[in-house]
Amino acid sequence: MTKAGDKSCINLKLKVWRQKGSDVKGRFETYEARNVSTDMSFLEMLDVVNEEMILSGKDPIAFDHDCREGICGTCGAMVNGRAHGPEKGTTLCQLHMRHFSNGDTVVIEPWRSRAFKVVKDLVVDRSAFDKIIQAGGYISVNVGGAPDGNAIPVPQEVAEKAMDAAACIGCGACVAACPNASAMLFTGAKISQFALLPQGLPEAKKRALAMVGKMDELGFGNCANETECEKECPKEISIENIARMNREFLKAGFL
């Protein structure tokens, strides 16, 4: 067994946002995380802290998680002021404790946005994203036999760009990192993944208007081109998608 003092084992002070429910006022509580293996992921570290808390009869820290492989978009928290922690292109579950040093104080906060209400502790309600998708983030397909593969030709670069946009896992880090809590990178990616492909074209106009309209209605802020979102996005989605959304929306709104 490893002990504190070894390079592979560290002690941390955690400053965690605790909030019992969405209508209750929250506050920061300080906890000690002892003998944390540097091979652990950030969520595993929280698991260990929670196990100790459960054993001592305390309410464990609530946090969202699912696949723990960096592909589902369920986890996420602000770690020392950075969405999903300080590593580039990484979700919280893929952030490993080797990026921290013995004795560090780690501040852990939920995503903060008017559109994302805190459910409990670090868990936020991201159903606002679902509402944006419901407004038009789909294509309508008539039923019938599956079309032949490659029946509709798509240039390789276009397919790549659409795929890059579709890499969005909807984690909400863009909103959390944005100084204005804007959802334009998410909405831009979701509009782009269809706008780029022939299958998305018939509904492109309606989609751009409806999704941007819904995004505005939900109380997200406005993009000021600070580009913090693309820097924090675990899938490194480019603000090129925001420019494309602007283009799609203005085209649909004025032409």
Binding site: G81, G221, C223, T227
Partner: protein
Amino acid sequence: MQWDLNWFICTLRSSIGKKLIMALTGLGFCIFLIGHLAGNLIIYAGKDAFNSYAERLHALGPIIILTEIGLLFFAVAHVFIGAYLFYENFRARPGRYLVKKNAGGRTIGSVTMPYTGFLILIFIIFHLIDFHFADKTDQTIYQIVLETFSNPGYTSFYIVSMIIVSTHVSHGFWSAFQTLGVYNSEYMPLLRVIGIIFSLAVGFGFGFLPIYISFFS
């Protein structure tokens, strides 16, 4: 569907519509800055050249009045929509972060955008009072410039204001193109560089004039 009715207003009232107005009016000011700077640089050609430039400019009559009304209209739109966006953005995050770090996207220009904008507004009010609305019955514009910049307090205020304008433009220029949807991974970095060069040209171009006037004329 609300989008079919009053589609024009609806589009402009949306988040992207408001950004569009900010971008277009902002680019309008960038064009104005080029014209204004080109005019100011005539000071280097001497007193007579500058006075005759001012005379010929005012001789344009209705074109100048129309441009002034246009700029005023642009300014009102830019200031009020900017202020409203600032309010909306502030409201979008009711609980602030205890710790928030820059992930590498923000620049001095982008962080200070609303504040530099407010300071520029204050500067423009003083600037218009001092030069545009100055009594020109028995003094030429060159004399007004000389007299105004003989006051070191005003000169420092002017130079600081030009640094602020430069900071505002350093983010505003490329940001306007991004808002207009002009994005291409190849020429976007170039556009950002052009924005920085333009903002430096504005800062040094305007900012060096009072120094030149106080020391060399």
